[in-house]
């Protein structure tokens, strides 16, 4: 082998090694840190273990919002078919209100209440998160004229 060929071979080997390490890191990282989006109906149908983080989205159920002491708040998220009780401690987004689409992040506790550590509502009255639109469509409660 000429010196040039040797250099090329070493370079190719290094490249493969770097690529392999990178692939391992990325695959491991994705495996550990992806969060699924679930609708209230998904939760009613499938058993989801307490403590597993996921994103829960839907509409804030009419008449369900109750403020506790301090910054605590309870409400339910519904997709028209099923609903899930949610508790959250913190500042709600400005356009959080009953009937509005929201996406929350958190996990279920032992009694089936969703403990949210983040509540997102878009800053737009007309806006509906696409995931929520999809889940409303699946539960048959979506009207194209808007909700």
């Amino acid at each position: 082998m000429t010196a040039k060929k040797k250099r090329r071979l070493a370079f190719a080997a290094a490249l493969v090694a770097v690529g392999a390490v990178l692939a391992v890191i990325v695959v491991y990282g994705l495996g550990q840190n992806t969060m699924y989006f679930r609708s209230p109906t998904d939760i009613a149908e499938a058993k989801i273990a307490p403590g597993v983080s996921f994103r829960l989205g839907g509409l804030v159920q009419q008449g369900s919002v109750a403020h506790g002491k301090g910054a605590d708040v309870r409400f339910s998220i519904t997709d028209g078919k099923s609903s899930v009780p949610v508790t959250f401690s913190g500042v709600l987004p400005a356009l959080f209100r009953e009937g509005q689409g929201v996406v929350t992040t958190g996990a279920l506790n032992q009694t089936g209440t969703f403990i949210a550590n983040e509540v997102l509502a878009k800053h737009d009255e007309k806006y509906m998160p696409p995931e929520v639109v999809d889940s409303l469509k699946r539960s048959g409660r979506w009207k194209d004229s808007g909700v």
Binding site: A94, H123, E131
Partner: protein
């Protein structure tokens, strides 16, 4: 009438872009001097017509001409003038017009500056003409900004209030200057493949620098905006749209370093060509991510599948065409020059490996959810922990290497001498780490390590600045840019490790202590702005029994748009931010209040500014050298 004038101008610009493409590519042949002058003229003409179209649209926004659908859908008579103007690009169609305007400006610069040989310039103009033509077609067929409404409505629908902000008014033009700036390096690289010219990196360098500076500033502006406008106290959310600007930045940074090696020592010749193609590809993919509406984000104005499809075809043609050209022509070019394992080239190679790897992590994290959803409908999201696990360590490793590079010679370096000259920087790193561990609570080993790296970077840069005082501008510029990285790292570490926050519901007269601050809530009053009504919180910063300052965070409701946004109140000492956001009304005069104390937060953006200054210094040196002398002399001068 004005709307039709704008549309006509776009059509003329399209025609000129086709002329520029044909004449430019023909002019790549040595005996076609006439074609070259036609291409140059077409570049100038195209700029005139695009500028005319852009001017017409801007005028329509300023005078609120609601007979143009775009203006009716995105503007309102009650908006302040500045947001009427920024409304031009605060929507899909207008922002694509801005995109082609920037493209035309770069083409005119390439034609006007005539850097590199005339065949190289001509071929670059040809490639830019092809790109421009594709984007004009996109504009006319899927995103016409000049569509009419009949009858014209009496009032417009307004602009998303989140975009009614000075930071977001200048963020898109800045980002586009970066995205599209990479089209110039892309065009030069493709042209170099066609005419077989090696000196293209020197010709394209100012454009790489401009693109990199603009991307740096654009990203910093975007992150600063997210910080003070979203009211969550964070500065980077790993949102797909943020990633869409980070990826081109990472590749552009790799390109700047690799092109330097190509220019100075002839190394990485083919690799640099590939990076120039890759950089602009990332810009196109970023545009696709933002414009196709595939991601839900504040930036996703429109979700129109035909647009996404069109951009996807455009990406496939541009990237595929360039890579095909690369595969065909690259083997005929001279390969990269050899170098010793211990040399500046090796550090630049590692720089590229780390930058590409970190970009790959961001790429996968951004696109994986889209791909998964396309395949089986599963909706997932990839959050910050993924990036902390993948991107962060790779980038950390890169930062460790940074001080070494400039201390090693081209071709063959002296590692021992380089290492020895870095002892003071090493000392600073150790002091920084020990100080952090000893003094600051909560104690954080990761933060101490990050401080050590920042000390290492800043220390080495100070050594560079001292050692090379009065010497070459390029070394000074590099030192400045690297120091900026260190400063940003300090800011990121400070806010991440030691931010304290309080989320509470406060009644008037109540006080709260957050970190070193005592705050008293004095209630809320209602105020009326030009196009919004707001709840304005009055919060007193106390010092002993006295009021030291009043902070007034607001919750604004924009009546025309029916949307509400928070306006945070930030009091900064330069080294620490006190950050207040007003939350929801809990009845009886009680309001939710969000307080963050973010140590070192301002350094995040200060560091970006220092980096950009380094870039500008280098750019200035380049342009002076270019103006002063023919190529050979400029090489000798550096």
């Amino acid at each position: 009438m004005t709307g039709e004038l704008g549309q006509l101008a776009v059509c003329f610009a399209l025609a000129l872009s086709l002329v520029m493409a044909g004449a430019g590519l023909l002019g790549a042949r040595a005996d076609q001097a006439a074609a070259r002058s036609i291409a140059n003229g077409a570049a100038m003409g195209m700029l005139v017509f695009v500028a005319l179209a852009f001017g017409v649209l801007t005028y329509a926004f300023v005078v609120s001409d609601f007979s143009i659908a775009l203006v009716a859908n995105h503007s309102h008579t009650s908006k302040p003038l500045i947001y009427k103007i920024s409304g031009v690009w605060g929507n899909h169609e207008g922002s694509m017009l801005l995109w082609v305007l920037v493209l035309a400006i770069y083409a005119a610069l390439v034609a006007g500056l005539q850097r590199g040989g005339e065949r190289l310039t001509s071929a670059s103009l040809g490639v830019q003409g092809l790109l421009a033509a594709a984007f004009f077609l996109f504009l006319l067929f899927t995103s016409n900004p000049f569509g009419r409404l009949d009858p014209a409505p009496f009032e417009g629908a307004g602009l998303t209030p989140l975009l009614q902000d000075i930071g977001l008014a200048i963020h898109p033009p800045m980002l586009y200057a970066g995205y599209v700036g990479l089209s110039a390096s892309f065009a030069y690289a493709a042209a170099a493949l066609m005419v077989g010219e090696e000196g293209w990196t020197r010709a394209a360098r100012p454009f790489m620098l401009i693109a990199w500076i603009a991307l740096t500033c654009g990203m910093a502006l975007g992150s600063w905006w997210a910080y003070y406008e979203l009211g969550w106290g964070g500065f980077w959310f790993w949102d797909p749209v943020e990633n869409a600007s980070l990826m081109p930045w990472l590749i552009a940074t790799a390109l700047l370093h690799s092109a330097l090696a190509t220019e100075k020592s002839g190394a990485f010749r083919t690799w640099t060509l590939l990076l120039a193609i890759g950089g602009f590809s990332m810009s196109l993919i970023g545009t696709f991510l933002v414009r196709s509406g595939l991601t839900s984000s504040v930036h996703a104005f429109a979700s129109d599948p035909t647009r996404g499809f069109f951009i996807m075809i455009l990406i496939a043609l541009a990237i595929g065409g360039a890579l095909a050209l690369f595969a065909w022509r690259a083997p005929t070019l001279k390969g990269g020059a050899a170098f010793e394992p211990v040399s500046r080239e090796t550090t630049l190679l590692l720089n590229n490996v780390f930058l590409i790897a970190s970009c790959a992590c961001v790429f996968v994290g951004t696109l994986y959810p889209l791909v998964l959803e396309a395949f089986n409908g599963t909706k997932i999201s990839v959050g910050p922990p993924y990036y902390a696990l993948t991107f962060a360590p790779i980038f950390f490793a890169l930062l460790l290497l940074v001080p070494l590079g400039p201390r090693l010679g081209w071709k063959r370096g002296d590692l021992k001498a380089a290492w020895r000259s870095l002892y003071p920087a090493l000392g600073l790193a150790v002091i920084a780490a020990v100080t952090v561990l000893a003094i600051i609570t909560p104690r954080s080993v990761v933060a101490a390590m990050a401080f050590a790296v920042a000390g290492w970077l800043i220390g080495a840069s100070i050594l560079d600045l001292r050692r090379r005082k009065g010497a070459r501008a390029s070394a000074f510029a590099a030192a400045l840019a690297h120091a900026g990285l260190g400063v940003t790292l300090l800011g990121v570490t400070g806010t991440t490790a030691w931010r304290s926050e309080a989320l509470t519901v406060m009644a008037p007269g109540e006080t709260i202590v957050v970190g070193p601050y005592t705050l008293r809530f004095d209630g809320v009053t209602e105020v009326t702005g030009p196009n919004y009504v707001a709840d304005r919180g009055h919060i007193a910063l106390m010092d002993g029994g006295k009021v030291k300052a009043m902070l007034r965070p607001e919750q604004r409701f924009y009546t025309a748009e029916g949307q509400s946004v928070s306006d945070t109140a930030i009091r900064t000492t330069g080294l620490r931010d006190l950050y207040l956001a007003l939350g929801d009304n809990r009845g009886g005069g009680r309001y939710a209040v969000r307080v963050y104390v973010s140590p070192l937060a301002p350094l995040i953006w200060l560091g970006a500014l220092v980096m950009a200054l380094g870039g500008m210094l280098s750019l200035g040196g380049r342009l002076r050298a270019g103006a002063r002398a023919p190529v050979a002399e400029a090489v000798a001068a550096e």
